[in-house]
Symmetry: D2
Subunit: 365 residues, 4 copies
């Protein structure tokens, strides 16, 4: 069983791949940092911050590790780079890194959308290097594994997007729900808001509170629609609303579709079981997280169980009477919805075992 934990997994090689992290002072960069540090086949080349300092000044869990964040100007070329910078800064760094021969995984939004006018409207800026967008592969291994293996630039998905796309992909490929009336309510822990101070994230404000924001036309809507439309082979409309809740880590997307045919829960489970049979990281919740829990919570995922992991838990339900399908997907916005998925993509780009360094278990409680 111990193999399942991934220790000893991956092909032990004499030369480890040297990986740099651009922008390691924030939460996403910090997760990239600890994922690389715990990876059997990767070696940290450097991690940067515009304010060089010991890493544990930003990430207290790294106290005693002796890691220093260096200035980006002092970063030498390396095999691969994980970028955790603001969108425009990331976009302007990428061309240089690709040209220097590095593989690049952008953990931000610079290369996620395929339509320029949409990108420039949504991100309210002109794209600094649109000519390279064509090289980017959208980084969901469950959908684009072979393309990611060949890619030199991967656009890592947004956290809500990863959860929603994984939750809805099977239904849209099969055409079982109305593609124009899909409602997704995404609940996010506050880590998803990042390290910058914000009134809505001040503990006295959100500690006992629930904070909807960008309730319509959220930026992630466009990546979700782009990816699901490809699967549906027609235009998909996603009606997405995010709400911050007072937990630190984790996202729970609750996705609601109107069935175009009669479906029972067993067929639905079978569809998802087959669709994700090959994925080490998407796990279907078919029975209770805990037998003592009142039966109602039976088939639903436990978001606390995915914190710090690269796993996505999916749960399913159907209301045959009203013709609705409900899909829940839970992941960590910094894990399978962020930096760890970025390392999963990097594993593929490097020809490593896809799950190398990513099979760590979550905690409970």
């Amino acid at each position: 069983m111990a193999d399942k934990t991934g220790r000893g997994a991956g092909t032990r090689r004499t030369h480890k791949t040297r990986v740099g992290i651009l922008g390691a002072s924030g939460y996403m960069g910090g997760e990239a940092l600890r994922t690389v540090l715990e990876h059997p086949d990767l070696e940290l080349a450097w991690a940067t911050s515009r304010q060089p300092r010991p890493a544990h000044h930003c990430h207290p869990d790294l106290v005693g590790m002796g890691i220093e964040l260096i200035h980006p100007d002092d970063a030498d070329p390396c095999d691969a780079v994980l970028i955790a910078l603001p969108t425009l800064a990331a976009a302007s760094q990428t061309a240089r890194l690709l040209d220097s021969g590095s593989l690049v995984v952008d953990l931000g939004a610079a290369f996620r959308l395929e339509d320029r006018s949409t990108w420039e409207r949504v991100y309210a800026a002109s794209h600094p290097c649109w000519e390279r967008v064509g090289e980017a592969v959208y980084g969901i291994a469950e959908l684009h594994e072979s393309a990611i293996r060949k890619a030199r630039l991967v656009a890592n998905p947004g956290c809500f997007s990863s959860a929603a796309i994984l939750a809805l992909a099977p239904l849209l490929r099969e055409g079982w729900i109305d593609p124009e009336r899909i409602v997704v309510v995404g609940l996010s822990g506050t880590a998803g808001a990042g390290a910058d101070l914000d009134r809505a994230m001040h503990h006295p404000e959100i500690g006992d509170n629930l904070v909807p924001y960008n309730a319509v036309d959220h930026r992630h809507s466009y990546e979700i629609e782009q990816e699901l439309s490809k699967l549906a082979k027609r235009e998909v409309r996603v009606h997405f609303t995010p709400i911050y809740v007072p937990i630190v880590r984790g996202i729970l997307d609750s996705c609601h579709g109107f069935a175009l045919r009669d479906i029972e829960r067993p067929q639905l489970l079978e569809l998802y079981r087959d669709f994700y049979a090959a994925s080490p990281f998407v796990i279907l919740c078919e029975d209770p997280p805990e037998p003592d829990v009142s039966w109602q919570t039976r088939p639903y995922p436990w978001v606390s169980a995915v914190a710090g992991t690269n796993r996505c838990l999916i749960g399913l339900d159907v209301d045959p009477e009203r013709g609705r399908i409900a899909v829940f997907s839970a992941l960590d916005s910094l894990g399978k919805g962020g930096a760890r998925a970025g390392v999963e993509n990097l594993n593929l780009m490097l020809g490593l075992e896809r799950s190398a360094g990513l099979l760590g278990l979550g905690l409970h409680p």
Copy 2:
């Protein structure tokens, strides 16, 4: 301004109305208890528990008040009774109380549904006194004020139902959204789960977690559909999913409807402003809860601000591009979604000022 707080409100009368509370050891009964204690025109006749004990053994905030919970058998007749018992127990007490001349507000589900077969299927029991259901008025003062004034039995709505009905009533009366494809995701604090111990409410399990339950065909769906269908003058389908979140008090219903015509946010605000012009308790959030909050949270309600109050805050948004209307409503499941709304109904039944004893402000933070 001080009048707004309700001090000195209500007609000071020499004889206060004597109110009894059946089932005062749980959270709903406890809220009924403190609401009656703080009411200028009501006097606590008695509060019961099958295990008689000082009230503060169940409700620590009442320490020092010297209130004793008595056995139901020791409860003498009084002017009005608030019932906070399990559904069947409540149903079987009600006839006796009505016949003894008491006004009755049932804070539970015994009298909420008008269709017997639906009630008996949904509550998986045969109704102990269906013959009295006809006397019950569904207790949302914003919709049924005149009927409540005449009623001797009021069925207080469920917490999610109050929030959803208040959020959607104007849209359905106007016929602005598709009545068959309304999605409501209700987020509930753990107080809504009641005082009985439950694995899903054990702090180590839910403290960092989000717990969907009864994700389809929830009991409250039927009251919401019943009330909204009357307003829409046609059958309404509500696709409702509740999720427990780790806050203690408060509910946030996020309601999503597909627009049947072009609507801009200003028209929507005007509709709601007019619809609730006469209600002292439904407040429209038209501008920011806090100017420093990133603009996105602009028009949305703050659930922490309604804890312990009889207020419902409503916020609105529109996605003209995708044709979706989003309505958020926040209330306290024990306040405007429970015992305080029950006292609002009782005020009307007694010919008191509707807001008597109910204008207390919430807290922030």
Copy 3:
């Protein structure tokens, strides 16, 4: 019983006292605001902010109340002023207000210490109007009621100080514990840190965390020592450490003293019962907050039960074997540890009933 809630309490007078609030945009000023609004005998003259705006922009619970924060320059003279400004600003406003004939309650630290050199060292500034400090009475009604009744300037205590002084006063008056080795660990909700954004109060940082700060030589130590030394009639040393915990409202001081004589819990309870017999706001927890709670929590206060109230709950225990007395005191840093205690002091200064407008109950859960 209903009288206990304070409705109808206080002498109804044709002319209400006009009260102004200097600095109403923060949490303390906001609590002062809602306490004045809910007070039967006080009328809000004005509430100020350097950035005039609707009050609900700072305090979402006040949405719909139509209250505007005005610029301090536009504030006209009134009967009494509650000051919730930074220490130095408060100090420099006070003389002017006193000379204009207003009664003043400073909710901050400007007038708490009687020794100038101590004050100037502790607050690292020279005091702008030390000549008026002699007029100030330290505002703990349980200890200084008659002086407060005569005062025109009251220095409201710090939140940790109120809790520690109320917890330890009886023991030090009696000389039952070693006055030089008193350890107080104060746990504070994040509201105590105020509305200014701070890394340590960013939800992702403190949501799952415990944050000690100023672990030695905290400013509040000096007020606690000053007040307890008077009671002990000798110098008292308080070894105080505060820790922020992820709740929003409330403080729990855990106070530990070494017994100078043999003491059993019953004597201790009797001492506190007598000492606080006359106080409407200090309540002794002699039995369980909740019978189902495992016996260990028996005599201890429930901090969640004091949020939004002017109450202080005290619990006691003794370790006869090791000769330690443990006293727990719970209050709301904005309530009995802040603005509500400020209004309690103002009631006394105005000759009103001490408890007028302050008998509101807390909530549970």
Copy 4:
């Protein structure tokens, strides 16, 4: 740097040690389970529960791992056993296991105390196999490494005890503080209360609350006094009070001692640096966890950073004026304060590298 993460650490051996876990349905047993699963040199022989079921029914993070909890009667002999049973059940299993040739680490309290009458009074029972207590070594590797290496039975310390002993050991060995007046206030997340439902752990009760319990004469006091007395070479009195706080994982012990000589912070830091120079798991916090944090939090540990790890973070401060030394220690009650420390002890008993499988990093945020 990657070595530091322990990947590839430990002596890779053809035959892994087969480890059984007695009582794997609770939180402590669950942590033992995931620690063994992630250990490079250990193999899970079996994990038991009186109610055999899939492990993820108790531990949702293990969904998809295909691990079954078996009935204890079906457990065959193996190399080593981690016991996570109630105290008396553990005591009665141990003799049999030792006689069958297994190494045993008891994660409970059965073998922690060396004095029989104390144990039987504190645990209110007669000890089922006192004759074997002499074989047990108290499992703090920082103090008893060589004895643990030779032991066949290790008594794993209590969570509060580990934190307090590690925090105070250097001071007591040096005799720098008064050994009879040490005050320890231990703050515990709710995971420390275990998986059994309890009113005080019901989210609505503790979600916004702080719950002191066993405020005097707590069982852990005796282990702390036993171990510190050995170091001090005289009797030590520890005045310990635990308080539950609404976080899930982690313990913060705040320890207060009265200095017997003048001490400055630098000397104190040097003492602790030297004392723990050899320990891979005790880390001294000498500078800020986060530069933006207001300076006050400077030298203190971040409990959220140790969740799921085998680390103990220690912070120090001194009040020279009042002669107090404050020591803070943070660890995870299931990690360095529980099952992971148990595996650290097992590593030593097995002649493995002490840190094998235990160098996983924590998370932030």
